[in-house]
């Protein structure tokens, strides 16, 4: 495989909200089959990054590009990005009272993978297997989307959607937060099932290293104040666990950002 077959390419991305800059020149490249993690403290711009890739209307992109398999994502509506293969597991999934889970899953699979994928024994088996893997009972299908769900149920439901929608790129925004260790294990199993051994990729956003013990990332990027200040292998998670973020938190990193330079080179 040549090095220019990137699944996701984020290039010099600058973005903000209401004239307040949040991302100051992000560069990330994910190849098919890779799992990357973005780590950073609250407020470092992690969720902004996820929302921008998915197309949240509140954010303005001021410079840079985001593409999926060479397609310009920034030109697309959110639903088009989703149909092109981007999936976002939300940190705070929204409730839709009156919309039944089963019905919603079927409609979403139909929208993204086509009508044929949303019916028949293959769909039902896929649904049953995924629910079993995540420890979700059948009665769940009759409930309303995220309505009255516990924190753990919401996260499991996000992963259930991930498994059924079979995206090319899965972005998991703080999927581990609010989960106990069993929950993390279950969710990690779901992520591995959905991504490992496929051509899909994932971007895991987290500020703890716990989930990374169960989903081994190929690369870890550290985000501080809207800029990637360090990129490394799985061992970086352990280092962050021990040392925190302070050792990376020096002014040199921001000086670069003002000059619009990439501080890290990600591709080999």
């Amino acid at each position: 495989m040549s090095s220019n077959t990137n699944l996701l390419e984020v290039c010099n991305l600058h973005a903000g909200i209401d004239d307040t800059p949040i991302l100051n020149g992000i560069n990330i490249e994910i190849k098919p089959g890779e799992i990357h993690a973005i780590m950073g403290r609250n407020g470092s711009g992690k969720t902004t990054m996820a929302n921008i890739i998915m197309g949240h209307p509140d954010y303005d992109v001021t410079a840079g590009s985001v593409s999926l398999n060479g397609q310009d994502l920034l030109e697309m509506e959110t639903w088009e990005r989703s149909r092109a293969g981007v999936f976002l597991s939300f940190q705070y999934p929204q409730a839709v009272p009156g919309l039944q889970v089963g019905n919603f899953l079927r409609k979403s699979v139909a929208a993204i993978r086509g009508e044929d994928a949303a019916k028949g024994p293959a769909f039902r088996k896929g649904l049953k297997d995924a629910m079993q893997e995540l420890g979700i009972s059948r009665s769940f299908l009759g409930r309303y989307v995220n309505d009255g769900f516990s924190g753990g149920e919401k996260k499991r439901f996000e992963i259930l959607q991930l498994m059924l929608l079979e995206p090319k790129l899965a972005i998991l925004d703080e999927t581990d937060s609010g989960l106990d260790i069993d929950g993390i294990r279950t969710v990690a199993k779901g992520i591995n099932t959905a991504i490992r051994g496929t051509d899909s990729g994932a971007l895991i956003i987290t500020h703890y290293s716990r989930i990374l013990e169960h989903v081994q990332p190929d690369k870890i990027h550290v985000l501080i104040k809207g800029k990637i200040v360090k990129t490394g292998g799985p061992e970086l998670a352990l280092e962050l666990e021990e040392r925190g973020y302070e050792w990376l938190d020096n002014d040199d990193n921001y000086a670069d950002s003002e000059e619009n330079k990439s501080t890290v080179k990600i591709t080999d």
Binding site: M54, G55, H56, P57, D58, E77, T78, W79, R81, S82, R83, V86, F87, L88, F90, Y92, P93, Q94, A95, V96, P97, G98, L99, Q100, F104, K107, S108, A111, I112, Y144, V145, Q161, L165
Partner: protein, 471 residues
């Protein structure tokens, strides 16, 4: 296609039932209302004298009664009663075979899916076109069990004694101006009697279609469920879209005798040039149950408050209603429950959506009489407002004169948030599809009470209303 369809299309907009047939009236009265018109209607139908007398009395009451001073007075004022046609017969007879119904009319009901629905899931059908029923049927086995299901005109001819006993017993003509109008000029509607202990498993349906311009439709429905019986009655309605207004003013009277259960479901989808001013009320005797499942999607102005008088001990009332108010529409709807006996219970669930400057109002009243002990009532009103131009109001009244009553009332107003839309769009759904999911979810407590076919239709209708509405 007739050439008049041209101008209709200009105002039709997105309303799917807005076509009209060429008008082939057998009998058409001149525009406007007078005592003579009332007498002519009665004479044409060969009615007994007592009915003519009630009509004339009701007409005088209607004339002397001022317009309501609530609801939407400025819209009410715009009704031009002199340019309404109060009676129009479009078919010589009420047929019991669709093949005998005049072709244009039959085609219209075909397009509306009535004969297909009849075959699949209904116990009986009445199809009214303008002032009278053009088609009527009931399953033989129900007829053998003594169930009477007729259009009201045939009912009066065949069962005058039953009708004389109950007519105006639940809604007297003096109840309100529009009840008086209906009593004066009523025509068509359903008469339904379910004998003791008979359970009608599949619903019976009435469908009301207005076709002519400036038409007034005044159907009158009377349902009597004898002791321990049960029935589900469903009704639907549509009309062509015209640039001039039509008037629909019905009266529905329900009597649930001890232990009986009546469920009355409506999906009202008049075109936006129809005034819909309807009085619906039921009397619930001991341990009986009356449910109104009332959906209002169409019309220009609807003022309708399905009511139940809980007269017998242990009787129960339920009103579930939804209203959708789009551009130029005002849905002034709600419910009224009167607890007159011990241990009576009621629930009201009202949901409204307003969009594109539409206005949804909940107007409700619950009373508990001083003598009624151990009553319970629960009222929930939810409104969803889709844009800044739209409006929702709530006018709840509770008059509780007995200390032992337990009353609960909740109201909420919500908006669709960007985050909710973003979440659904991130799952591959366009903006309007996402909005339709939220809206249909909001209406779900209502649609799940409807027969499945109606629920599917309603969901499609709402999805259609949400198309191209944002972004």
């Amino acid at each position: 296609m007739t050439n008049t369809n041209q101008d209709a299309r200009e105002v039709i907009g997105d309303y799917k039932a807005g076509w009209h047939d060429p008008e082939n009236a057998t009998i058409r009265f001149d525009f406007g209302l007078s005592e003579q018109v009332v007498r002519d209607i009665s004479a044409l139908k060969n009615e007994p004298k007592w009915m003519t007398d009630i009509r004339v009395k009701a007409f005088h009451h209607y004339e002397s009664r001022p317009m309501p001073t609530w609801g939407n007075m400025s819209m009410l004022k715009q009704i031009d009663f002199d340019s309404i046609c109060y009676f129009l017969r479009s078919s010589k007879a009420t047929e019991n075979n669709w093949d005998d119904v005049p072709e244009d009319i039959r085609n219209t009901f075909d397009k509306l899916g009535i004969p297909a629905a009849e075959q699949k899931w209904l116990s009986g059908v009445t199809a009214q076109y303008e002032s009278e029923a053009v088609y009527h049927s009931i399953r033989e086995d129900l007829e053998k069990q003594g169930v009477i299901f007729l259009d009201m005109d045939s009912g009066l001819r065949e069962y005058p004694e039953i009708i004389k006993k109950w007519f105006c017993s639940v809604v007297p003509y003096s109840d309100n101006k529009f009840a008086a109008l209906n009593t004066a000029v009523w025509s068509g509607g359903s008469f339904l009697y379910i004998p003791k202990g008979v359970h009608v498993e599949m619903p019976v349906q009435a469908y009301f279609r207005i076709n002519a311009k400036n038409m007034g439709q005044f159907e009158r429905t009377l349902i009597i469920a004898d002791e321990g019986s049960s029935i589900h009655y469903v009704e639907g309605c549509t009309a062509p879209t015209y640039s001039t207004d039509s008037l629909h003013s019905a009266v529905v009277e329900l009597i649930a005798l001890p232990g009986a259960h009546i469920r009355y479901s409506t999906v009202q989808n008049w075109s936006v040039n129809v005034y819909n001013l309807v009085t619906k009320r039921g009397i619930a005797h001991e341990n009986s149950k009356i449910e109104w499942v009332d959906g209002n999607i169409g019309s220009k102005l609807t003022m309708k408050y399905p009511s139940v008088i809980l007269k017998g001990k242990g009787s129960h009332a339920e009103v579930i209603s939804v209203a959708y108010a789009g551009k130029g529409q005002h849905q002034d709807t709600g419910a009224k429950i009167h607890h007159l006996a011990d241990n009576t219970t009621s629930t009201i669930l009202s949901k409204s959506i307003s969009k594109d400057g539409g206005r949804g109002s909940y107007r409700g009243m619950v009373t508990v009489s001083p003598k009624a002990k151990g009553c319970k009532t629960n009222v929930v009103c939810d409104a969803l407002i889709l844009d800044e131009a739209s409006r929702s109001d709530t006018y709840p009244t509770m008059e509780v004169a007995n200390q032992s009553a337990r009353c609960e009332h909740e109201a909420s107003v919500s908006k669709v948030s960007d985050d909710q839309l973003f979440y659904l769009m991130s799952r591959g759904h366009t903006e309007s599809e996402s909005l339709a999911m939220i809206v249909n979810g909001f209406f779900e407590p209502f649609t799940r009470e409807l027969p499945m076919e109606y629920a599917v239709e309603l969901n499609k209708l709402m999805a259609f209303e949400m198309e191209g509405s944002i972004g």
